[in-house]
């Protein structure tokens, strides 16, 4: 659409425009001119940095923080998912050997008791145990 079309030719509108144009707007004033140009001069003297440079470091810090938080969240979710699929982590070999030693010098019941206590201490709480699914941790023969 061209301005020629837009500017319209309604004679009444022209009359109204003439009335509007009869009055002259008040200007900004001489005092304001010096005030504004002083502000501009101050700004021109100030070291000018491009906008990308002003936002770079805050944006980089925010991105790193976001990355760390995201990494923590993904690792946590991954561990939870693996625990759901694979069951609780195996009891360490040292705990099993220690329980076997205890069984050798005492009896099998004490050895099993020691093994269960050590296993309970070593492994993290299993979410499946709460739902009634128990992993089978067998004492080595």
């Amino acid at each position: 659409m061209s301005d020629d079309i837009d500017d319209g030719n309604d004679p009444h509108d022209d009359e109204m425009e003439q009335i509007l144009r009869q009055v002259r707007p008040r200007g900004a004033g001489a005092a304001l001119r010096s005030r504004v140009l002083a502000g501009v001069a101050g700004q021109l003297r100030a070291p000018s940095r491009p906008r990308w440079e002003r936002v770079f470091w805050p944006a980089a810090a925010a991105a790193i923080l976001l990355g760390v938080l995201l990494n923590y969240w993904v690792a946590k979710r991954g561990s939870e998912r693996l625990a759901r699929i694979m069951g609780p982590p195996a009891v360490s070999k040292r705990a099993a050997e220690l329980a076997a030693d205890i069984a050798a010098v005492t009896d099998e019941a004490t050895g099993r008791w020691a093994y269960e206590r050590l296993a309970a201490c070593c492994r993290p709480p299993n979410p499946l145990e709460r739902s009634g699914v128990h992993a089978q941790n067998r004492m080595p023969e």
């Binding site: 008040r26 140009l37 700004q43 000018s48």
Partner: protein, 177 residues
Amino acid sequence: MENLSRRLAQGDPAAFAALYDACADRVHHYLVVRLGSREDADDVLQETFVRLARNRRRLAGVDNLMAYVFIVARNEAARLARRSRRAGCAGRENLPSADVLFCPSGGDLRAQEAAETVAKALARLEPPLREVVELKVYAGLRFREIAEVTGVPQGTVATRYRAALAKMRTWLVREQS
């Protein structure tokens, strides 16, 4: 104008003075109509030019400097209005009186009467219509430039302008009768 853009982008103070002389009066009047206060218009005009100086590198690629200054001034006015709302100050909805808006008539009764009539007619318009009239009649922008400044389609600008004139004409006829 292209040369002025280049000088502005290089940070030439004389170029900023030239830009001020070319458009400050028109922008100031637009701001007075929009904000309803000469003091606020003074502050916003100053902030507009300081912002132009701060982001002067962008001015090298500006095709229409006049429209660009109005865009920056409009954004600054909106920012001031938001700050005032957050601070709990109610914005001035009413248009200032004729003697604030227009040049003193110097005792000429007819000129004074015309100024009062125009101020009253403008005050009857909704802000979007008033803004278009202000930018067209007093800022001297074309519809294409007004569309650029206000961010509405050019056809809408033309429609608003005609609607504003019709509304003012109706009011004027009623007043005269």
